[in-house]
């Protein structure tokens, strides 16, 4: 880190006058520099957010109450017609069912698997970094690639999974025909990419748990499993909430994987794996070219994410506080004592 002292004061706001040297003016400049700079530095984010974030969200509401075709552009004000039309579409309800089903099938096993993997990583392993990197590897594979790979693995006729099932004498599963089977296949893709990532997030939280708590648990006669449930889980519950919320937001927006699951990309012959985001895309950009209705879908999807996010939040809070309002406090006290011990050591 090089700390250079500039010979002359300089400013990024205006060229500083050199001759004659007016101390008063450069002081004024410097005061302005201090006052204005912070706002200048944070402005790129806010300007961009207002143009590409906030304004579009409000504008989505505006578009959703108008007739609005991709090519013709804005039409008449139609009130909530777009919304009622969306409600009348069978595909919309199918897409909701599929999204929720895929979300549940993916999120629940994913969070459980991630916590378990993290618990295994949270040991005094040899070659720690190797294992962490190994677990994270799928994260760098693009969802589109994952979709294509698993679309092939789960192929109905000659797919690897069905061949393996055949070895065990199980009849081939119609991964691209049966709704539930297709949801499982797509959930598998999501889990493939995100389980390791979430495991590392859990691992980070677990590493922050004071080791003394485990010692105390062992002295109290707790085995590995017991100390996992009584020490680890309560201690990382903030992270559990965080992961559940982020995977809810992500899970309800699934698009890439179902889009490439077959070559048509429309969500299956009878819309078995049409997700709401895919439905939004089909409504706006492929097939119907109806941006007004797409905007209505966007708002409905947002409300759904918000609702499920809140339910999740409430649930995880209740589970967390129900099991450990006492231990949480005790743990805090213990960790404080632990710090004190270390200080004196």
């Amino acid at each position: 880190m090089s700390v250079q002292s500039p010979v002359e004061p300089e400013s990024d706001l205006a060229p500083a006058p050199r001759q004659p040297r007016r101390v008063g003016f450069s002081q004024t400049l410097s005061r302005w520099d201090v006052k204005v700079s912070p706002y200048l530095y944070i402005s790129p984010f806010f300007i961009l957010f207002f143009i590409t974030g906030l304004f579009p969200i409000l504008y989505t509401g505006y578009v959703s109450v108008h007739k609005w075709q991709l090519l013709q552009g804005q039409g008449d004000f139609v009130g909530f017609d777009n919304y009622t039309q969306v409600f009348q579409q069978k595909d919309f309800w199918l897409s909701l069912r599929n999204t929720l089903s895929i979300f549940v099938i993916s999120a629940v096993p994913q969070v459980i698997a991630a916590i378990l993997i993290a618990a295994f990583l949270d040991q005094n392993l040899r070659a720690k970094t190797f294992w962490r990197m190994g677990v994270l590897l799928p994260y760098v594979v693009a969802p589109v690639a994952v979709g294509l790979i698993f679309g092939r693995l789960f192929a109905d006729q000659s797919g690897l999974i069905n061949s393996w099932l055949g070895v065990f004498g199980i009849d081939p599963v119609g991964w691209h025909v049966d709704p539930l089977a297709s949801h499982i296949a797509i959930a598998t893709m999501v889990n493939f990419r995100w389980t390791g990532y979430n495991a590392l997030i859990f691992l980070a939280a677990m590493q922050a748990v004071p080791r003394e708590l485990y010692e105390a648990a062992i002295i109290d006669g707790a085995g590995r499993v017991r100390s996992f449930f009584s020490v680890t889980i309560p201690q990382i519950r903030a992270t559990v909430v965080f992961v559940v919320i982020t995977s809810t937001i992500g899970g309800l927006q699934i698009f890439d994987e179902p889009r490439v699951f077959d070559s048509a990309g429309a969500g299956g012959a009878s819309r078995q794996w049409l997700t709401t985001t895919l439905y939004l895309y089909n409504t706006g950009w492929s097939g119907q070219y109806n941006l007004g209705r797409a905007a209505a879908v966007a708002w409905l999807l947002f409300l759904l994410i918000l609702a499920i996010g809140l339910v999740n939040f409430a649930l995880t809070q209740r589970i967390a506080s129900g099991s450990s309002s006492g231990p949480g406090k005790k743990a805090k006290k213990q960790s404080r004592r632990y710090d004190a011990n270390r200080k004196s050591a």
Binding site: V3, P6, K35, P44, F46, P56, R126, I149, S158, Q207
Partner: protein, 304 residues
């Protein structure tokens, strides 16, 4: 934790963390190596992560005619890998090199600008005192919860009016800086940049921007590297928004790979060779920088 900050100043955060771990181990008696079952189970997890990528290589290297005739999928890579690469590169549906170029331009420009603007904002939020600071920071964090899909329709309309549909700026401009980056750099600089350094620079007569450029930016380097990595990966794999604003004449790599799938006869050797080509740069990046990526996720989780 009295000895740890001292180590951190002398030998850096990594050494400090290692020291903390050693202390943990001594105090907690956690030195015992885990049971071999742990290695086996983790090995299976890693294997599950590698298998699909390996499978891509196997199919991508196979002869398209031969693979169609085999009942059970083959186990080892075949000889046609480079022939299939060549077919991807020469594909009629799109220009492969243009797709590569587009993906590289988008990922590099967005990563660079995200790091620069995020560090600027992070520096202001972490180290400068100004009215409204707390509230604005809370606002930034709150925006992270908004799903991207909500704004796609009007954003598309805006891009149409600007005449940017089919051009890279339609992807680059909205992604120039994001809430996550601002939050990430704020968190990091709050810890990593002592006020004394800033004051010293100010006393020496450095302007605010000069202070940022010579003091904050170098201090932010480790966090900036991670942010750049994450942004690069996110842009490289990005599909939803590009599939709306770009077209087959001017695709990114994920869009190009998708085009391979849309033939009447689905040629899996070709598709998987394309998938492998697209994934290869990130695998190479991961081999060199995976350690940082891991450290980044771990660090972000503790704070977030």
């Amino acid at each position: 934790m009295n000895s740890i900050p001292a180590i951190e100043q002398i030998a850096g955060r990594g050494a400090a963390r290692a020291a903390a771990r050693r202390t943990n181990r001594r105090v907690g008696g956690y030195d015992r190596r885990p049971h071999w079952v742990s290695y086996v189970l983790l090995g299976i997890v890693v294997l599950i992560g590698i298998l699909p990528i390996y499978y891509t290589l196997v199919i991508g290297s196979s002869d398209p005619v031969a693979i169609a005739q085999k009942a059970l999928p083959q186990v080892f890579p075949d000889a046609s890998l480079f022939d299939n690469f060549k077919r991807v590169i020469d594909a009629d549906a799109f220009s492969f090199w243009k797709a590569v170029w587009n993906s590289v331009v988008i990922a590099v420009v967005v990563s660079a600008s995200t790091v620069l603007f995020s560090t600027l904002a992070g520096f202001a939020f972490a180290k400068l005192r100004f009215p409204g600071r707390r509230g604005l920071l809370v606002f930034v964090i709150a925006t992270m919860a908004i799903p991207t899909q909500l704004g796609v329709v009007p954003l598309y309309i805006i891009m149409t009016k600007l005449g940017w549909i089919g051009h890279l700026q339609a992807i680059i401009v909205p992604a120039l800086v994001g809430a996550f980056g601002v939050f990430w750099m704020t968190q990091y600089l709050e810890e990593a940049l002592p006020y004394e350094l800033i004051e010293a620079a100010r006393v020496d007569g450095a302007s605010m921007f000069r202070t940022f450029w010579s003091i904050a930016l170098p201090a932010a380097r480790p966090a900036a590297a991670m942010l750049a990595l994450f942004t690069f990966v996110a842009q490289w794999v990005n599909f939803f928004w590009p599939s709306i604003v770009l077209n087959s004449q001017n695709p990114t790599l994920p869009l190009a790979i998708r085009l391979l799938q849309q033939n009447y006869f689905v040629d899996y050797s070709l598709i998987m060779a394309g998938v492998f080509l697209m994934t290869l740069p990130l695998l190479v990046l991961f081999a060199f920088a995976g350690r940082q990526l891991v450290a980044g996720i771990m660090a972000g989780a503790v704070k977030g």
